[in-house]
């Protein structure tokens, strides 16, 4: 008997955004289903429908039915479905309730009425399972994005749900961490529905793939852009006159050094991908390169204007129109801003409020906000987070086309993207210290 049944589900958000159109599917106990599809295609809404959050939390027009574990989600409140269903949301920062890791993992267990004597044990087991046992006593605010994503995964695994819903669970994890997370979800014995933008991270581990676009589940073969690709990392020699050079730089936020005696050079015309495990100092190195941080030791030299794209697209939502947001970096030149919006595929979005954009669209808006300045050094920190493969291809093509005019440093966990866009890959991983440090 199916664990979950979705029958002719149609859903429209308040404000007439039609998100799902006639979706039907069945989920068997223990099976792992990958949801692939373009940004804004309905994957996250389908996950929310399975958790009962659509329509209870979001409102909107709902027709059809969703049953999970024999419970009709229209009649059962999402908090009552918790435990049967557990959801890991896209942005780990926005789902943290407590300030310390072990309390955060215990929160869901407390809500479900777990016997008090078992709460700490189960929380500790879940943290150990995701390789985060050492973080148990740490304040959440001190964790890196990848560490926080592991903690959030532990929080849902601790509930031992029958249906596990994962919304881009690996977006901030390095490849090894991503593989571990997917494997853990599979090993939990729950039915797993995982939404992903990086097919190569889930396809090997899943039993079934559903392609969701325009609010519908599409049958047939996956579109070519969504087929998994091999990451053949380039290994070219440094080329072009150096626009940015870091020599023997060190930096620490507290007592522990994050970057220690690292050296890196990026020349005009080349694209360098900076890869490495979570917490290895990639973002700090990128900020040192772009001048947002000053090294505590060593020297950074830079030529011309540097621009830095943050990991968090929520930091590019200051103005009330998309074109005005982009124009900030060019002294309010709207014509220039609109041309750049077109370059990143946001033509027609000029007068939209940045907060009304989907997560993928916000990523592209943020990219436009830095590209518009035509910097000599462009530093992009995880520019493909939440971006679907066709858009990634477009981004790679855009960066390649503009590469001769500048030096480009791309911090990424996405090795396929790194292979596609970069001339040279530098790793912050300890075993490849010959490249950095």
């Amino acid at each position: 008997m199916a664990l979950a049944t979705v029958c002719e589900l149609e859903f429209t958000y308040p404000g007439e955004h039609e998100a799902l159109r006639g979706v039907s599917l069945e989920l068997e106990p223990g099976e792992v289903v990958a949801l692939l599809g373009p940004s804004g295609g309905g994957k996250s809404t389908l996950l929310r429908a399975l958790a009962g959050l659509v329509p209870h939390f979001h409102g909107g027009r709902f027709s059809g039915s969703v049953e999970v574990g024999g419970l009709d989600t229209r009649r059962v409140h999402p908090s009552d479905l918790a435990g049967t269903v557990a959801t890991l949301f896209q942005d780990p920062v926005d789902q943290v309730v407590f300030t310390r890791v072990n309390n955060e993992v215990a929160f869901g267990l407390e809500n479900l009425g777990t016997p008090p004597a078992q709460i700490l044990t189960r929380a500790a087991q879940a943290l150990a399972a995701v390789g985060a046992a050492h973080l148990a006593e740490r304040p959440v605010a001190e964790l890196s994005g990848g560490e926080l994503q592991r903690v959030c995964l532990a929080s849902v695994l601790a509930l031992e749900p029958r249906l596990l819903l994962l919304d881009e669970p690996t977006s901030q994890l390095d490849p090894e961490g991503a593989a571990t997370a997917i494997e853990l979800a599979r090993a939990s014995g729950a039915a797993v529905v995982v939404s992903e933008q990086r097919p190569e991270r889930v396809l090997d581990a899943c039993d079934r793939v559903l392609f969701v676009a325009d609010g519908r589940i599409r049958g047939g073969e996956l579109p070519e852009a969504w087929l998994p690709r091999e990451a053949l990392l380039p290994d070219a020699e440094p080329s072009g006159p150096a626009v940015c050079r870091l020599e023997d730089v060190s930096f620490a936020y507290g007592a522990e050094p994050v970057v220690e005696r690292a050296s890196l050079s990026v020349g005009r015309g080349e694209i360098v991908a900076l890869v490495g495990p979570n917490g290895s100092g990639k973002t700090t190195l990128a900020k040192l390169a772009s001048g947002l941080l000053e090294p505590q030791r060593g020297r950074v030299t830079r030529e011309g204007r540097a621009c830095y794209l943050s990991q968090d697209p929520g930091r590019y939502l200051i103005k009330e129109r998309a074109d005005e947001e982009v124009a900030l970096a060019v002294g309010g030149d709207l014509a220039c801003a609109r041309a750049t919006l077109t370059q990143v595929g946001l033509a027609g979005f000029e007068d939209r409020h940045p907060r009304d954009l989907s997560s993928g669209e916000r990523e592209r808006l943020a990219l436009a906000a830095v590209l518009v300045a035509e910097p000599d050094l462009l530093v992009l920190d995880e520019p493909t987070r939440g971006v679907d493969p066709p858009r990634k291809d477009e981004l790679a093509a855009l960066l390649r086309a503009q590469a001769p005019a500048r030096a480009t440093l791309v911090v990424t966990n996405d090795l396929v993207f790194a292979a596609e866009v970069a001339d040279r890959v530098v790793s912050t991983a300890p075993e490849r210290e010959r490249a950095v440090a």
Binding site: P78, A82, F89, R100, N103, G314, V379
Partner: protein, 232 residues
């Protein structure tokens, strides 16, 4: 010390500052709370101390100009529409100092609560009104979150070559910060509901009972309020 008695002690000190009617008593309480706040890490305490001391100073400076009390005039100024004649009396200065110290003491009590208490343990140790305490703990966490968000916005602007300077430049970030907080609050509420928050029959992680120090803090808080009512 456990967070619940510590929070009650801080609340008692704030209450005493409001109940006392001698400047020296309120000043002593504010000084004690200031010393407590100085135990917090330098980077975190700065904003709270500037807020607490700045608001107290503002009350002290503004009170003589918006009140007309006393007859021992120290300075006589021009007549301003709406406010009338600007003059400063000894009594107005005294009241300004008193109210400024009161506000500073209450703000420092909140600062000590926000900076030094383990809010997780506070929520978990409360046996009643847990929802209200959780809401309060989440609201307290909003201050450092807002601080982090503001720093993030400034950094993203600097990353685009746009420098944010002066009070006016920073004031422009208030709107985006507020909108971001509302969005974050909605996402958090959704995530909490998905994790079973609000469902009946919840349990709590076992916590150690109160120590002698905790009981002493509670007694001290009660005694401080009584002394404040009777003698300060």
């Amino acid at each position: 010390m456990s967070p619940a008695p510590a929070a009650l002690l801080l609340a008692a000190l704030a209450a005493v500052a409001l109940l006392a009617d001698r400047i020296v008593s309120v000043a002593a309480i504010a000084l004690v709370l200031l010393l407590v706040c100085l135990r917090a890490p330098r980077g975190r305490r700065r904003m709270y101390l500037v807020g607490a001391l700045g608001s107290g100073l503002a009350v002290f400076v503004l009170t003589p100009f918006v009140s007309s009390i006393g007859w021992h005039v120290i300075w006589s100024g021009p007549t301003v529409p709406v406010l009338g004649q600007l003059d400063i009396t000894r009594e107005e200065l005294r009241i300004g100092l008193f109210q400024g110290l009161r506000l500073t003491a209450v703000a420092l009590a909140f600062a000590a609560y926000a900076l030094l208490l383990d809010h997780d343990r506070l929520v978990q140790s409360v046996r009643f009104a847990r929802r209200s305490v959780l809401a309060m703990a989440l609201a307290t966490r909003l201050v450092p979150t807002l601080e982090r968000d503001a720093a993030g916005l400034v950094e993203a602007l600097r990353g685009r070559g746009v420098e944010v300077s002066g009070a006016r430049g920073r004031a422009r970030l208030l709107g985006p910060l507020l909108a971001g907080s509302l969005e974050r609050a909605l996402n958090l509420a959704e995530a909490m509901e998905a994790r079973g928050y609000g469902r009946p029959g919840g349990t709590r992680t076992p916590r150690p009972g109160w120590s002698r120090l905790d009981r002493a803090a509670l007694a001290l808080g009660a005694a401080a309020v009584a002394i404040g009512v009777l003698w300060l």
